[in-house]
């Protein structure tokens, strides 16, 4: 049995060594170096891209958060302004009401005073008129009464009749 596989030939060892080192050298120079570099480069760039995407996401979240905060603040401010405006309005209305009331009261008071004055004046006038009229009437009546003697005597006698001397 010519089982000479277990008896390696030095020629094959020699050529295998040369071929393998040649292969190692060529592949190292023309394949493994550029390939490993390219893969490493790409992995780095992917990592960078992922990192920057993550960063952008964070930035986005931060901006959104900020916007929300701003919105919230704006809303709060609006509420405050509205509240203040309402208060101011209420105040104004209340003030106006009070003022109007006061003004009205004053006017009414004035009117009443005027009326009272006028009334008094009128009453005085009326009084004067009445007294002069009554005087005139009295004078006229008296004049008329004293024109007729007889009548007077009758009257006096009547009056005297009523009078009972006790």
């Amino acid at each position: 049995m010519n089982f000479d596989i277990g008896n390696p030939s030095y020629g094959l060892v020699f050529w295998t060594l040369i071929a393998f080192f040649l292969l190692l050298f060529l592949l190292k120079k023309f394949a493994w170096k550029p390939i490993m570099e390219a893969i490493g480069e790409r992995e780095r760039s992917i990592e960078d891209a992922l990192a920057s995407a993550e960063k952008a996401k964070e930035e986005m979240a931060r901006l959104t958060n900020e916007n929300e905060q701003l919105l919230k603040a704006a809303r709060a401010e609006r509420d405050i302004i509205l509240k203040e405006a309402k208060e101011l309005k209420d105040q104004l209305v209340a003030d106006a009401k009070v003022q109007a009331q006061a003004e009205g009261a004053k006017l009414i008071e004035q009117a009443r005073k005027e009326i009272d004055d006028q009334k008094k004046k009128a009453l005085v006038e009326v009084k004067n008129q009445v007294s002069s009229l009554s005087l005139d009437i009295a004078r006229k009546v008296l004049q008329k009464e004293f024109e007729n003697e007889k009548q007077q005597e009758t009257l006096v006698s009547d009056l005297l009749k009523d009078v009972k001397l006790n």
Binding site: I5, Y10, G11, L23, L27, M36, A38
Partner: protein, 360 residues
């Protein structure tokens, strides 16, 4: 040594267990089948007995020409270094061992299609003179290695060009087929076993992985561009294991050498421990050499034995059964081919990792 990180990855441990399992089963089957084939061939002494063992051994062995079909084969250059100078001629000069070749310095004869021997003036092989002749011929295996080197350089330089052309972009076409494998070697073999110093060893690991794999695959092709049993030749696996041995020991740091030369045991155990550790230095790459050689050779022997069954039984009826088994074995060998490349690379990375590991 701490192997935990190796078994941490479920994927790797599963593959490793599976690999060990298939290794044993394949080796066992190969053994039984080849002995069966051998015994059968001894019994059939017909007019032209079919010697399965001879056929199989011829197929898995090296040759001076690359057989195509029938009597046609590609002659390969024979390069001899003799004490009188170099000799170059084509192996076709031997006419398949039927003729001697008169060279410049000696007359040469191809003995058993395996060895080139000097023929003396009396027409017999002169073993004494043959000792001065060094055979550096481009044999079938050497040619197959050159072919695989050419293929690998062609494939990977084109892939590298694709990386340059499509810089920073996603891989495309053949590049996207190769990239996951490269990343697998990097992320599942080199990084977990070697640690952060892995980058230095990537070229070696990738070269070993793809060299073994492509030769395993080419070996499965039964016709010309393949058919050479490169990774099933112990000279080739010896060279690979030897390179691993050198790389591991050159890169061994002080902890590695302390572990070998001054292990943490009572001093009186040193006479036992140091030789054991030194044997360990050699036995690790030795196991690499035997494992790859035995697995690939076993696979080839099984396939060839199954084919041989048809000729042993001299019956076409056995062919469908035989072919079914051959098909199954071929598929299994595809798996074994990548698995053995993976295991060789993984263990290389593991040994390098042990040698460069820092202890805290």
């Amino acid at each position: 040594m701490d192997f935990r990180h190796f078994f941490n990855s479920k994927k790797i441990s599963f593959i490793a267990i599976f690999a060990v399992f298939t290794t044993f089963s394949v080796a066992q089957t190969a053994d039984s089948t080849s002995t069966a084939a051998a015994s059968v061939s001894h019994e059939t002494h017909g007019e032209e007995p079919y010697n399965a063992t001879e056929v199989i051994m011829e197929h898995i062995g090296d040759a001076y020409d690359w057989h195509l079909w029938g009597d046609l084969s590609i002659p390969l250059p024979v390069i001899l270094y003799t004490d009188k100078g170099f000799e170059f001629f084509l192996s076709s000069q031997f006419h398949h061992g039927e003729h001697d070749y008169q060279g410049k310095h000696y007359t040469y004869r191809l003995v058993d299609k395996k060895k080139i021997r000097v023929v003396g003036s009396n027409g017999a092989v002169d073993e004494e003179a043959s000792k001065n002749v060094w055979d550096f011929s481009i044999t079938k295996n050497v040619a197959a290695i050159f072919l695989s080197v050419f293929l690998l350089v062609w494939i990977f330089s084109s892939v590298a060009r694709a990386y340059k052309k499509r810089e920073g972009k996603a891989p495309k076409g053949f590049q996207s087929l190769i990239e996951p494998i490269i990343l697998f070697v990097r992320d599942d073999i080199a990084r977990p076993n070697i640690g952060h110093r892995y980058a230095r060893f990537m070229p070696l690991l990738l070269t070993i992985f793809f060299f073994i794999w492509i030769n395993n695959l080419l070996g499965l092709i039964p016709i010309f561009p393949g058919a050479a049993n490169v990774t099933g030749n112990i000279a080739v696996t010896f060279v690979l294991a030897f390179i691993v041995l050198i790389v591991v020991n050159i890169n061994g740091n002080k902890y590695y050498w302390k572990h070998i030369l001054a292990p943490d045991v009572p001093w009186w155990l040193y006479p036992i421990m140091i030789p054991v550790e030194l044997v360990g230095v050699i036995s690790k790459p030795f196991a690499l050499m035997i494992r790859l050689f035995a697995n690939i050779t076993a696979g080839h022997i099984i396939i060839l034995s199954l084919i041989s069954l048809i000729f042993v039984f001299k019956s076409l009826a056995i062919a469908p059964v035989s072919l079914a088994f051959v098909l199954f074995m071929n598929v299994l060998e595809l798996l074994v081919g990548v698995l053995q490349a993976f295991i060789f690379t993984l263990l290389t990375a593991l040994f390098i990792g042990m040698a460069v590991e820092e202890h805290h």
